[in-house]
Amino acid sequence: MSKGGRHAYAALSVLAAGALVLTGCSKGGSDTGDNKKQDKENAQRQQATIKFGDAADSQGPAPAVPGAKSGGTIAVPQRDSLAHLDPAQIYVSNESQIAQLYHRGLTGFKATSNDGGEHEVVGDLATDAGTTTDGGKTWKYTLKDGIKFADGSAITSKDVRQTFERLFASFINTGPTFIQQWMANTPGADYRKLLPDGPYKGKHLPAGVLETPDAKTVVFHFKTAHADLPYALGMVGYAVVSQKGDTKEKYDKNPVTSGPYKIQSFKSGKSMVLVKNPNWDPKTDPLRHQYVDRFNVTFNQQYEDSTKALIADSGGEQTAVSLQNSVDAGNLAKVLGDPKMKSRTVKGYQPFVGQMNINLSHPAMKDKKVREAIAYALPVSPFQRAYGGGEAMEIPGGIISPTVTGYDPNFDPWGKKKKPAGDPAKAKKLLKEAGKVGMKLTFGYINSQEGQSYSTAMAAGLEKAGFDVQRQEIPSESFYDQVSKIKNNYDIFNTNWGADWPSPSTVIPPLYDGRTIADGASNYSQINDPKVNSEIDRINKITDPVKAAAAWGKLGEYIVKDVVNVVPTGYFKQVQIAGSKIGGVAYDDVIAGIDPRRLYVK
């Protein structure tokens, strides 16, 4: 998924991912040496593959959070309002994070450790993570008993069918597209042809794609094997939609929910109130809890404001925690340096990786020497600075984040770790060899506070190497639309991409598979390298996750070092803080933020 999706607002944001062990085993935060070790451990945690749970693991109730009590109201300041409540439209991280409270899907990621570091995929509405007898071409799911929507109606396979069939309708356009593409066996946006009007005109997916033989059984049929289906089904984008209650576009403001909380009120841009859903049965839910009585969510709370309030921790702030907001850059040093705040601070890596795309469709960029010059010259320290420094962003080597399998900490072909401000001398030499000293380079940057800040410094660094950089400002709300156009004017532009689940199969194919090039697709650099394409196909067929991870890792290195269509700019980290009366605070690596399902009021 792209970070922040379309709504990348301006703010000095700090993102890091990981979890502090709340029992206090980690050493002092101001000691950077120990932090590095902790970071490594956090990252290593994530690289262990996530296995599938069985029927026992899929049963509710969820294991109790130590020390948890019922009751209380939690205030949740959030920076971004929710553009969508319809699960099929939910893709951006802040929307899916909070939706954990009110939407449920066939499967889900269950935290198997109290620090949010270990997970397994289990059945959420289904009895298990899914069974396949033919290596992933056919997947069978059985719905649990006693699962209901917030309006009291039972959840049946009819609703599951509705959930998937409506994904093909044209009004569903912002959610994930993996499963639709798998069903239609085509990449890109052509999947809609499978069922152009969704279920709304009486047509349905053929039994060869989706079968619902009875009220409790759902069978997926794919033409190619997809061992990752249980992971994909855990995304909020595939949460269940009520067939009777499907109001199409209106569902986006008023969905029928299935989680432990229902939406009592929602005022876009202002607030949302979540209250307990009496029709949610904890015995059916292995993932969530219903400790808190009520969540008062408020929007448009900038990182600086919520951080300040939470640091002050007075009055109402003691029972407040932001799910989305990080500690802002200006306050990082204070928060991490104060031992009193340790117990309510969590941090770690986010799955997002920043990368400067080089637009391979432009003739000037086709010269490999030019691309290498860009890679050497580009300063990445401005990117780190813009987001708040070392605690917010790590200088990267490759495109695979420390949170994803296949990450290699020693891979740094352009020497960014030693020279984060770039190596203009080497770059200039390459440019001279290419005979292109002084060539024009159009740099499209996002019109956010960070974008303004890092693009000017990056341009200055590139100019030292002999490029003539023309910066072009792109409004943040349409940034990804602009850069994802096949015909765009930008030679280089930075995008941030996070794995949808901790496997490079959600990073490399969407970004680097040459056959997905289309307007609006995520192959921003428009790379179409035959070796990359064939490797993607080969690795997708590997069923052993360990072997697959190693293969993805190698492919990632080939892309950065040999194809040079992207230059990694940063690994996002996040530090979050909660009020002192909030318990169960853990940074969940999969949700990429504080896990809302475990929270309680002390």
Binding site: L12, A329, G330, A333, P379, G389, A421, A460, Q470
Partner: protein, 330 residues
């Protein structure tokens, strides 16, 4: 009201039986006002350093565009905050370094003042010319012309000014530059000037209209008309010299208003943007969390300099007004 004939009867100067023109009298009165003279010097100082900014920067040896956070990383932490207190004020960096990309504050302030003053002077000149043109014409010709121009003034005054600026800047910029190229700085400058000019001339226009209306009935105008002078000549030769006073007085209040308005727009991010130095853009930077938490000293450079400038200009305006019309002397 014009005091074209304010000749005090028994001043000491009259003993020498030399008539002094109103302009000379004004100058004498002005020179006697110490506050006014000091303010004038301060204002001139600002314009001088703005004009000489490139020269000063050359002597100082730095420019406002160098990204010191990358050139001299040892002076900063990884978030771009200067390691030394007070933003790293030193003999090398007189006003310290800007948190973030580490620009030199001294040269940035100089160039920032230069940018803002340049834009504001242009707007002031444009607004004054328009105000004269439309105001005097409306006042003198009266009738339909006056009605029409006054209605236009009313209409423009009802515009929510700042909102209009914010909304129209992207439109004006896109008129000049196709979205495919980088927006050159001069385009933003021209857009700012145009946009502020559009809504900047009305107050002067109204004042001049009033002045002209009053003057129109005076005998000397009547005499000129009777003697057959065409309206254009009357306006040029008889009216204009007599409206110089309100123009000067209003003008000295207009310029600082335009300076602060332009800074406000840059503060909101619709005016001049990084990396072009601009007074308002420095305020924008100063209001970021990074600065407010870690380096308040940075705020004071654009802040204090602007206060000094505005106070000086307002005092100058007061003195000019008093010099023309001693009745209002405190």
């Amino acid at each position: 009201m014009v005091d074209g004939a304010a000749q005090p009867a028994a001043t000491p100067e009259a003993k020498a039986l030399e008539g002094r023109s109103p302009g000379q009298l004004m100058w004498i009165r002005f020179k006697r006002d110490r506050t006014g003279v000091i303010s004038a010097f301060v204002v001139i100082f600002f314009f001088l350093i703005a004009a000489a900014a490139p020269l000063i920067a050359k002597l100082y040896g730095k420019n406002p565009y160098t990204v010191y956070a990358d050139e001299r990383p040892e002076l900063f932490d990884s978030a771009g905050v200067p390691v030394q207190p007070n933003g790293g004020i030193s003999s090398e960096f007189w006003f310290g370094l800007e948190p973030g990309n580490g620009y030199d504050v001294f040269t940035k302030l100089l160039y920032g003042i230069r940018t803002s003053l340049m834009i504001s002077v242009a707007v002031t000149i444009a607004a004054v010319l328009t105000g004269i043109l439309l105001g005097v014409t409306a006042g003198y010709l009266g009738g339909r012309t006056d009605y029409f121009i006054s209605r236009v003034i009313d209409f423009l005054l009802a515009f929510p000014a700042q909102l209009f600026f914010i909304a129209s800047m992207p439109v004006v910029v896109s008129l000049f530059v196709s979205p495919t190229d980088e927006t050159p700085v001069y385009v933003r400058v021209v857009a700012l000037i145009l946009v502020q000019w559009f809504l900047g001339w009305m107050s002067l226009g109204r004042v001049l209209r009033g002045t002209t209306l009053a003057l129109r009935e005076r005998e000397f105008i009547e005499a000129a008309r009777v003697s057959g002078a065409p309206p254009g000549r009357i306006i040029r030769r008889e009216l204009l010299p007599n409206v110089v006073t309100p123009i000067l007085v209003q003008g000295t209040y207009l310029l600082p208003n335009f300076v602060t308005a332009e800074a406000g727009l840059s503060f909101l991010g619709v005016g001049i943007v990084e990396p072009t130095p601009d007074w308002g853009q420095m305020f924008s930077k100063a209001s970021t969390e990074l600065v407010m938490q870690n380096d308040i000293t940075y705020m004071f450079f654009p802040g204090i300099s602007m206060i000094i400038f505005i106070v000086a200009f307002n005092l100058l305006g007061d003195s000019v007004r008093d010099a023309f019309d001693p009745k209002t002397a405190r």
